[in-house]
Symmetry: C2
Subunit: 458 residues, 2 copies
């Protein structure tokens, strides 16, 4: 067997750092979402790009599947080794290698988490903005093109990764990009790897763009009678050029959950949560302009959170929403799904989705990065009810189809993984075959995260 032989060859080289214990395999065989566990055959813990190269050379020669692993926080099962083989866990490659404050960039290893990076950066006055909620690793975030609440202001991983070191399927180590802020030199390989979900190579180093900590921050929350009022507020805010740092939508179900969990006292209506960053004066001006726009679209119940503690409480509620949900619906399994549409179609997409979820009887609160047209529903499946999982998957299916019908994408930030593979052809048409051609060029033996992202070949 090729997998067995790969393990036999790698074992003397990696020693203890090639794990095969049941607990190790189980830990790396599960996900944070609804996918069935699929165990790899072994877990490797490399400490350098050279070791990753040697692992891949061996796997490539013997045809053994290889799947990268960061923090295991993917919601679409990206890191599940559906064909077994070796999982490469980057937790021993988790260092900050350089901070260049004048250039506002840094160099990290892929196993470093975004929170660990921001802790290390604290004294520099700089921070890394991309924030998908979970404390994911930066390598995993790049591989899945992660984004989050601050993307409306600072962009996603697409915008904040300026260069990579990647080990290709055959073990070659390549560098993409440079530390220059921009370049017109050659194909944009950096952005080809960002979002490739481990199917084209394994990332072993990242150069990341940093941003200056703002002098002042102010957050607010307000309620609307309808989704349409909230979306019109967002459109006008963005068109006016107010540099909002975050602008998040939560629906009435979320307001109910916030009230139940923390006596927040929110009206049971759709809400916008917003944050402004800048100088004292600019934040004061931005908040006043936003309040005026919001009021003209029917906003009420404004609450301003200027002090750090208030702001933290407000954002923690939103930010830890996935964990709040799990506490609120104990014992349930969740189908977390997201789509992204042009913002002009957002109100109707959310309203149709809400109506569909309500008719199903499954609890499914909706939250959204509304400045990007991106929203999530979290379907709380009761596994003691034999129909629930099927119904939840059908809801998620109709949500994806609705997004495509309105000119959007089946995922704004969760990625394709296992959950969205069925939509690739419909979303991309003839371009999906082109992705398959690229995959074959990079990985002719199909060892890198096989069974994901591209058209099946075997």
């Amino acid at each position: 067997m090729s997998i067995e032989q790969t393990i036999a060859e790698l074992s003397p080289f990696l020693g203890d750092r090639l794990a095969q214990s049941k607990s190790e395999l189980e830990h790396h065989g599960q996900s944070e979402s609804y996918f069935p566990a699929t165990l790899p055959d072994a877990v490797a813990y490399p400490e350098s790009a050279a070791e990753v190269s040697r692992i891949l050379q061996t796997c490539n020669r013997l045809g053994c599947p290889v799947t990268g692993w960061g923090a295991g926080t993917s919601l679409e099962g990206h890191a599940l080794a559906v064909r077994g083989g070796i999982v490469v866990d980057f937790s021993r490659m988790n260092r900050l290698l350089a901070v260049n404050a004048e250039d506002m960039d840094c160099v990290v290893q892929p196993g470093m988490t975004r929170e660990a990076l921001n802790t290390e950066l604290r004294a520099t006055g700089l921070f890394f903005p991309v924030d998908p909620g979970a404390n994911a690793t930066l390598g995993g975030m790049a591989a899945t093109r992660a984004s989050g609440t601050t993307t409306v202001r600072y962009g996603s991983m697409r915008d904040n990764v300026t260069g990579l070191e990647v080990v290709l399927a055959d073990g070659r180590i390549v560098r993409t990009g440079s530390r220059a802020r921009k370049s017109a030199s050659g194909y944009d390989l950096t952005r080809l790897f960002v979002g490739s979900e481990g199917t084209l190579g394994l990332i072993t180093e990242l150069t990341l763009r940093l941003h200056g900590q703002p002098e002042a921050t102010r957050a607010a929350v307000c309620a609307f009678d309808s989704m349409a009022g909230a979306v019109e507020t967002v459109i006008e805010t963005v068109q006016t050029g107010i540099p909002v740092a975050r602008i998040e939508f939560v629906d009435q179900t979320v307001a109910q959950i916030f009230n139940a969990r923390s006596n927040a006292g929110f009206p049971e209506k759709p809400h916008l949560l917003v944050e402004f960053r800048g100088t004292d004066a600019s934040v004061a001006e931005d908040t006043a302009r936003f309040a005026e726009i919001a009021a003209s679209h029917g906003a009420e119940g404004f609450r301003w959170a200027e002090r750090t503690e208030e702001r933290t409480a407000l954002w923690e509620m939103r930010h830890n929403f996935a964990y709040t949900l799990k506490a609120h619906y104990p014992g349930r399994r969740f189908v977390f799904t997201d789509v992204c549409v042009p913002i002009s179609r957002l109100a109707e997409t959310v309203e149709e989705t809400r109506a569909d979820i309500e008719a199903s009887g499954i609890p499914g609160p909706i939250v959204g990065h509304v400045g990007d047209g991106n929203f999530h529903s979290s379907l709380a499946v009761d596994e003691t009810n034999p129909d629930d999982m099927r119904v939840a998957k059908e809801l998620a299916h109709r949500m994806a189809e609705r997004a495509l019908r309105y000119g959007g994408t089946v995922t704004g930030e969760h990625g394709i993984g296992l959950g969205k593979l069925a939509y690739m052809e419909e979303e991309h048409g003839a371009a999906w075959a082109v992705m398959g051609d690229i995959k074959r060029t990079f990985d002719p033996k199909n060892i890198l995260n096989p069974g994901k992202l591209v058209p099946p070949t075997d």
Copy 2:
């Protein structure tokens, strides 16, 4: 001959829109820079993606080279058909197809110029920000990953193209991206085509991101005793988070030329030209903060241009610099070259470059998009002096080598074309071969802009 047969097959199909007159071939055989003219065999003027597809199917079957043509404003000879064949001129595909004001995007054909687009957008309150100086076509700007003075605030073509329609070498028409603001769905083919210089496909439609016209704009110029003071001002401005819309460096030679051409009365020193955009209040605050930072680094001779006419005069000087130069050095031929380095290395890179140019005796003013670490030198070659062109090319060569030594790229925005091909291996190492692999996958017969960007195969 395959080229002759291609022309024979396309001629009945395209009729008048396949031109072979001497004047047509000459017009499409020259560039705005120092490269020798190279005539194509025919120029095709398609009117739809379907026609482009039929042209490419024929060329692919017969192995005939195909080179895209926008406005012919490239400075590195991208659009020169160095192996002859068909030039595809997109001037008959120059329409604005849709403006979606709520989504702040639009859909255009590739032959539309950026100025024509902004004229059409005037009534919407929106504009397209990427501005390479020349009135280039949007298709050409995407193909070369163009950027310009406003990139520090709004990004380059990489950031402002959200989707494409592309005809592949074999005639397949594919769509990349969507109108959603972000997506985690599949390989980022949009950014693979952006900057591919016509070697992977021909762009037949673009979806572009638009931005809101600011309420207030204010510009300023100030002088520094040294390049270092100017660069330190820029670094501190960006780190502080002042959202500068433009921040441009011009050296003392440029100040002399401005004075000579328009009695500008600038001190003959390095200058920064800056522009702020926002509300009246935010612009006032930003300018005050910038002035304080600049003064702390030795800035003097501040001039503020608040009125539109003053501002226009200031920026036109910078903006039309290439044309000003041609008037200032009549009869000279120019080697325009650009590099981009990490901003922490910018002062020394510019100063070494200036010293090198001064020692050569060739006039070579330097201007830079200093917020990006990107600068240009414009070497005014006297062709009656037999050594001048060789010396200018040597200066450009040392500038490229210097940029690589300082961790930068050989071109921030002009692109590779003919002028920078020799540096691809040094800049990209093993990744250059990967680019060659991608090229072969997309264009196995090497018909698309052959002889450019990737390692030579034939």
